[in-house]
């Protein structure tokens, strides 16, 4: 009886955030182009040797997702802070976890859309061919992104309200993402035919476990960071 309304609130908030993103379309495009630029920079930095690049591709892809994606999280709170909307938002009835869930959902959609453009781009630039591993790569992307977005949305709730937010968010966020990054890179590489004998199953379980654990943990902790 109390769940239903909060579920609707989650959807309302996610819808609102996405609507705003659609309006300020510039932002999505900017992030996509930035990601593309980063892919290029990686290419230039890791030298022209095609073999080396292909070997590094999975890692590069995920680093690009992390570095460009983490720029989007602060923004989802900036819109709240601009005209004091956050205070109003916090005073609505119902659980505040629905705010977290809503923003998480919106960011998830946002990042997944970025990836939908980023992955083919990386495939082209780094001469990758997924073949029948495509499904696996997709699964890895989804699992990895869930964990990434969960942590990003959570830490941005704090960082976005501080002066040094640009530096602080990645500083808090990245160390937490290490297990996810390792797993994601391994799985992606495996499905792209690099290390065929890698225990992808175990990695995927790790990622799923990470997602569940930290989703619950951040949900539980959110009231402490958002309430003022």
């Amino acid at each position: 009886m109390t769940l239903a309304p909060d579920l609707r609130r989650v959807l309302t908030i996610a819808g609102k955030d996405l609507a705003i993103e659609r309006r300020a379309k510039a932002n999505f495009n900017a992030v996509v182009f930035l990601a593309a630029t980063m892919l290029l920079l990686f290419g230039f930095a890791l030298g022209p040797d095609a073999a080396a690049l292909r070997a590094a591709a999975a890692g590069v892809l995920w680093l690009t997702v992390l570095f460009s994606g983490s720029l989007a999280f602060n923004r989802s709170y900036q819109t709240e802070l601009e005209e004091g909307a956050l205070e109003t938002l916090l005073l609505y009835p119902g659980s505040r976890k629905s705010i977290f869930a809503g923003k998480l959902l919106a960011n998830l959609v946002f990042i997944l859309m970025v990836e939908a453009i980023l992955v083919p781009m990386a495939a082209v630039l780094y001469g990758l061919s997924f073949g029948d591993g495509l499904g696996g790569v997709a699964l890895a992307l989804v699992l990895g992104t869930i964990g990434f977005v969960t942590m990003g949305t959570f830490y941005a709730a704090m960082a976005s309200r501080l002066r040094a937010r640009e530096v602080l968010l990645p500083l808090l966020l990245f160390p937490m993402l290490v297990p996810l990054l390792v797993a994601a890179v391994e799985v992606t590489a495996a499905f792209m035919g690099q290390s065929p004998f890698a225990p992808t199953g175990r990695w995927l379980t790790l990622m799923a476990a990470y997602d569940v654990v930290f989703l619950l943990a951040t949900m539980g902790a959110y009231d402490f960071v958002i309430d003022d």
């Binding site: 609707r8 909307a85 003022d228």
Partner: protein
């Protein structure tokens, strides 16, 4: 629920970092009242309103709003209170209607969208923004933004209404609108607290005047010119 006081604070104090914004507020207000809250800059008006709205927890002291304890059962209070602050609290990239729809969806998640849109149209009519309802609020003037925020408050139909300097950046008609809203709330049996620097305007609708001087509450006369000699007001 029982006919408890709308507001009942005892010794509520609030600190920001090292400085005390409220030093111990003891007050009581009942349904149907509308309080005028005076006091110069930095005296603590906004802080007091934010404590009443549950967006700030008291550092010391205790109190109830509409019968529910501040802090402990804040989520019982939130559905019953509406707050209009310095900032309109809008999303500049959404239209006026979309802003109101969002707020309504958050307050009444299970309403049908038909009834909802009906109520929204009515509210826009009332703050006469019907014309601008489909423009993004980023283009609104300060006055229009506050009108829209007022419409949001109207739709909320709260039992305790908290207005922080509602007359600011309003022209004559806007000021009248604010006062109509206050009257309507009172007649609906709600309680209203208006923090303002504009004694004359709010005197038209207030039933009682209070004054904050750095963090302490004194009572004040409605019409009078702010009297410097006053005693701590305790309403038991």
């Amino acid at each position: 629920m029982d006919t408890a006081d709308a507001i009942n604070l005892t010794g509520v104090a609030r600190r920001f970092g090292r400085r005390w914004a409220l030093r111990g507020i003891t007050m009581r207000a009942s349904a149907g009242e509308s309080l005028m809250l005076l006091g110069r800059n930095g005296s603590g008006k906004t802080t007091l309103l934010r404590v009443l709205s549950t967006s700030l927890a008291p550092t010391r002291g205790a109190g109830t709003v509409l019968g529910h304890a501040l802090g402990r059962s804040a989520d019982r209070i939130r559905p019953l209170v509406a707050w209009l602050g310095h900032d309109p609290g809008l999303y500049g990239d959404l239209t006026g209607v979309e802003n109101l729809r969002f707020s309504e969806r958050m307050r009444r998640p299970i309403d049908g969208s038909a009834t909802r849109d009906g109520r929204i149209a009515g509210a826009l009519e009332r703050v006469d923004l019907a014309a601008a309802g489909d423009e993004r609020t980023r283009g609104y003037s300060a006055g229009m933004k506050r009108r829209l925020a007022l419409a949001r408050v109207l739709l909320a139909e709260p039992r305790l209404l908290l207005l922080d300097e509602p007359y600011a950046s309003f022209d004559e008609s806007g000021i009248q609108l604010v006062n109509e809203v206050v009257r309507a709330m009172r007649e609906a049996g709600g309680c209203v607290v208006v923090a303002t620097h504009d004694r004359e305007r709010s005197a038209e609708v207030a039933t009682r005047a209070l004054r904050l001087e750095d963090g302490l509450l004194y009572d004040d006369e409605l019409g009078a010119v702010s009297s410097r000699s006053a005693v701590p007001g305790v309403y038991a």
